[in-house]
Symmetry: C2
Subunit: 212 residues, 2 copies
DNA sequence: ACGAGTAGACCGACTGGTCAGTCTGTTATC
DNA sequence: GATAACAGACTGACCAGTCGGTCTACTCGT
């Protein structure tokens, strides 16, 4: 199901072929510089097929963002529910988030880069999506605070700061390939956990666990 | 000099009237949804005037970004040179950065939001600009490390994480007006200084200084 | 002191290329 | 023979950029 699976361009159904092609083109050229005809060509279908499955170019883009968002959210929640306490949940979320972005690099680029600055409609969508993720993070930060693992703080601002930090580092990587995820993860974990006041001992503990 | 001064739409020269108008329209509608004719109308000039002063729509946009970047960089360096040690410099940079974004809200929106996802040219420009700021931050993080004020860490990743965190929080504010800068600054300061391992005592000290 | 010449700054009607989306088919399957 | 799933030629709106023209201000020779 969905264009998010492993099969690259094989004998999948038309809708998914179109989406896979759209991901490729959008991630390379951005929304506005992508011609629908390029998606048509890349997907080896036809304009008719594209407009049979999607009412507009915009909706193709939104479909990609939404399916990926759904997947990411599902993975995050799955990863989180196996963890006992707030700090560990926050840590798990970070890990699975980076992992998922790493796995779907092109889509990550669409999600984090191309989806910005596209005018009203997209803007609101983006805010809504980020708000959802921020809410997830915030809730576990709150949990960690109430469990006494970290000192009280403005968890909303902290949640957005986290998202921003992750965004920027991933964007950088997506663009330049530069700091590879393996190098990034440890630093980011340390930096982010420190930022909310998790004790150094606790951080070391989590690092040990991650290393096994 | 420049459209960045206080006069809103008065008797400034044509070039600056055009830039001021462009800021207004770009920040509201984004690059692609902005028609050159809208800038013409808003600036109370003419298409001829616009294309007399700028060779293309793109260059108008770049002119805004560049002038603002220049201002921001200048302010940052100014603020920094009066501070003695690395941690204090990093702190000063954060403060002046937020302040400047706060003062030029529309331009901040253009700079942080509308400038993303616009295709090759802009993309590279953005990367270059951010790299410049990241380098500034990194150098003072490195200084703080070598002064022994903070433990060693991957300062490059940390610098980008900082930029991302600030970005996201400011973007949120620019969009929704939500967490006001006054509320954001203390949290962000604490969170960011903690993230690089500045001791709680040292953070409190800086907070005291800021409060006077 | 004055008209002619020149150039910089500006005006705005027009154009020409570009695409998103449409529409009239065609093919396969039930 | 009906319907879903396509194919691809075509169109029409939209808009960045152009281009001939105007309007000062300034210079300079007489």
């Amino acid at each position: 199901m969905s264009f998010l699976n492993d099969s690259p361009t094989s004998e999948t159904n038309t809708r998914d072929r179109i989406l896979a092609a759209a991901v490729k083109v959008f991630s390379n050229k951005g929304y506005h510089d992508t011609r629908v005809d390029e998606i048509v060509e890349e997907s080896d279908t036809s304009k008719g097929a594209v407009y049979f499955h999607f009412p507009s170019k915009q909706r193709i883009f939104l479909a990609i963002v939404e399916e990926f968002t759904g997947l990411l959210e599902k993975k995050l929640l799955e990863a989180i529910e196996h963890e006992p306490d707030g700090v560990r949940r926050v840590n798990a979320a970070l890990q699975i988030g980076l992992e998922t972005f790493g796995k779907y690099r092109s889509i990550a680029k669409i999600f984090l880069v191309q989806a910005i600055g596209l005018g009203q409609t997209f803007e609101e969508k983006r805010l809504e999506i980020l708000a959802r993720f921020a809410a997830i993070i915030k809730s576990y930060l709150d949990q960690a605070v109430s469990e006494g693992d970290i000192p009280p703080l403005d968890t909303e601002v902290a949640a957005y700061a986290w998202i921003g930090a992750i965004n920027e580092v991933v964007i950088r990587w997506v663009h330049t390939g530069q700091p590879e995820p393996e190098r990034v993860l440890p630093t980011l974990r340390t930096v982010l956990l420190r930022s909310i006041g998790v004790s150094e001992d606790h951080i070391h503990e989590l690092e040990q666990e991650a290393a096994r």
